[in-house]
Assembly symmetry: none
Homo-oligomer: 258 residues x 2
C-alpha cells in the first residue's frame, strides 16, 4: 500500500461517490483518503459502492478545510477541468505520475496530496491556489466533467503505472539533481505568503482596495519553483529585514514627535 499519497475530496455531495473513490483507490494500491466537509459520511451508499474497500472508508479522515487536509504535504496537485482566468501550469495525469514517482524515489517519506473538487463545479480558485500543480484529465471539450470516482480511477491508475514501470520521463530539475535541503511544506509556504502580504501592505505596494492579482501572481511564481526550506527562510529573512527598516523609520519619526 502506498501511504505517502493521499486522495483529498472537497465537499463531496453524493455519498455513493465516496465509496466509488475508495474502491478505485484500493484497486490501485492507495489507502489514504481525506474528506473535507463531505455532505454525508459515513453512509450505507458509500459502503455499498466501495464494494469491499471498507478499510479505506474506515481509515478515512474528515477535516474542516482543505488547508487542514494538506498541511503536512510537500507536494499538492489540484485537479481542474476548467480554463482559469490566470494561466497556471497544467499537466496531464501522466506527467503528474512521473513527478510523483520521481520525487518518491528520490526522497521517500515525502507526503503528497491529489485534490478533487465538488461534483458540480470542481475546486474554487482559492483552493486551486493552495496547490502547486494543476492536473487536467484530457477529456473532450463540451463534455469534460468526469464522475469523481472515475477521475480518481484515472489518476490512481497513472500513479500505479508509473510506480510499476517507470522509464522516468523528464524529472523536475530540483529532483533530478541531488538537492541540499528538504522541500518547503504547505504551512511554510502559507506563512511566507502571509508575511509577504503584510509587508507589501506596509510599503503601500499592495492596495487593499485594488489588490489586482498581485498576490496570486507572486504565489504562482513561487509555487511552481517548488521552493526548498532554505529558500523560504531566505525570503522570510528578507521580509523581516524590510519590516525592521520600515519599523525603525516609524519609530524614529515618532520619537521625534512627528
Amino acid at each position: 500500500m502506498n501511504s505517502e499519497i493521499k486522495i483529498v475530496l472537497v465537499n463531496t455531495t453524493h455519498s455513493g461517490n465516496i465509496g466509488g473513490v475508495a474502491r478505485a483507490m484500493k484497486n490501485m494500491g492507495l489507502s489514504d483518503l481525506v474528506l473535507v466537509e463531505p455532505k454525508v459520511f459515513p453512509s450505507e451508499e458509500a459502503t455499498a459502492r466501495a464494494a469491499g474497500a471498507n478499510d479505506v472508508l474506515a481509515n478515512a479522515s474528515v477535516v474542516a478545510t482543505l488547508s487542514d487536509a494538506i498541511a503536512d504535504c510537500e507536494l499538492v496537485f489540484g485537479t481542474s477541468a476548467r480554463e482559469r482566468h490566470i494561466p497556471w501550469p497544467i499537466m496531464d495525469p501522466r506527467e503528474m505520475a512521473s513527478i510523483i514517482s520521481t520525487g518518491k524515489s528520490k526522497d521517500s517519506g515525502k507526503k503528497i496530496a491529489v485534490v478533487f473538487g465538488r461534483e458540480d463545479r470542481g475546486l474554487t480558485n482559492e483552493e486551486l491556489h493552495l496547490c502547486q500543480h494543476h492536473v487536467c484529465i484530457p477529456s473532450v471539450e463540451g463534455f469534460s466533467s468526469l464522475n469523481i470516482a472515475s477521475a480518481v480511477q484515472v489518476i490512481a491508475y497513472e500513479i500505479r503505472m508509473a510506480s510499476l514501470c517507470v522509464e522516468q520521463v523528464e524529472e523536475p530539475l530540483q529532483w533530478g539533481t541531488k538537492w541540499d535541503a528538504p522541500m518547503a511544506n504547505q504551512e511554510q509556504l502559507e506563512m511566507l505568503f502571509d508575511h509577504l502580504e503584510q509587508t507589501v501592505l506596509k510599503t503601500g505596494f499592495l492596495d487593499p482596495q485594488k489588490p489586482r492579482q498581485l498576490m496570486t501572481r507572486v504565489r504562482r511564481l513561487i509555487m511552481r519553483a517548488l521552493p526548498d526550506s532554505i529558500e523560504v527562510n531566505i525570503l522570510r529573512g528578507i521580509l523581516t529585514s524590510v519590516d525592521k527598516s520600515i519599523a525603525s523609520n516609524v519609530k524614529s519619526s515618532k520619537e521625534l514627535g512627528e
Copy 2:
C-alpha cells in the same frame, strides 16, 4: 467523435453502470456502445448516471451474442482481470492504445472493439478466445476488480491519450500551458537580481563581508520558475516600494539633522 472504436459490454447486471460507461466514453470522445444481453436497458438509472451522455445511450445497440457484437471488427481486445488457466498474451491499456492508434493511422476505417465482461465474473474463457488481444488493467492482487464504468474510463482515457499523441515535448510546464505574458528575458532578470541585491544591502540582510550564498540561492529559485515579464515587474515593483519606504526614513532623519 471516434466512431471506429466500439465499447462492448457483455451481460451487464447493474443498469446504472451502463450509464456510467456512457458518460466515461463521451468524456473521452467515444460514441459507439454495444450491449450484449444487458439485464435491463434502457433504464432511468442508466440515464441518471450518464449525466448528459444521452446520445451515447440513445445510439447504443443491443445484440444477443458477443459474436454478433464484434462481427464487423478487425481488431478485438478483451478485458480481463483474472489470471487464466491457459496463459494468453496480456497487455496493459497503454500497449493496447498504442496498437489501436498505430492500426488506425495505418488503415483508417478499421473497426475495433474493446470488450468488457460481467460485473461479478468478467468474460468467460470462450468469450476471451474470440478476442485477439487480452488487456489487463494492472490493479493490485487481492482487490483487482474495478467498477465497470471505471474500467471503461481507464481504457477510454488511454485511447484518448494515444490519439492526442502525447509526445510531451521538452517544454517547461508553463510553456506547455498557454500563458498570458511573455517570458522575462535575461536582461530583465539580471536587472531584477541587481535591484534585489541593492535593496537587501540597504535593509542590512545582505552583509557584503559575509554574503554567504544568499544571492545565489535566490537567483536559483527565481530562475527555475522561468518567470514571465509581469511577474518580474511585480517583483521590481515590490523592491521599489521597499526602497521608497526606506528612503523616506533616511530623508526624514536627515532633514531633522540626525
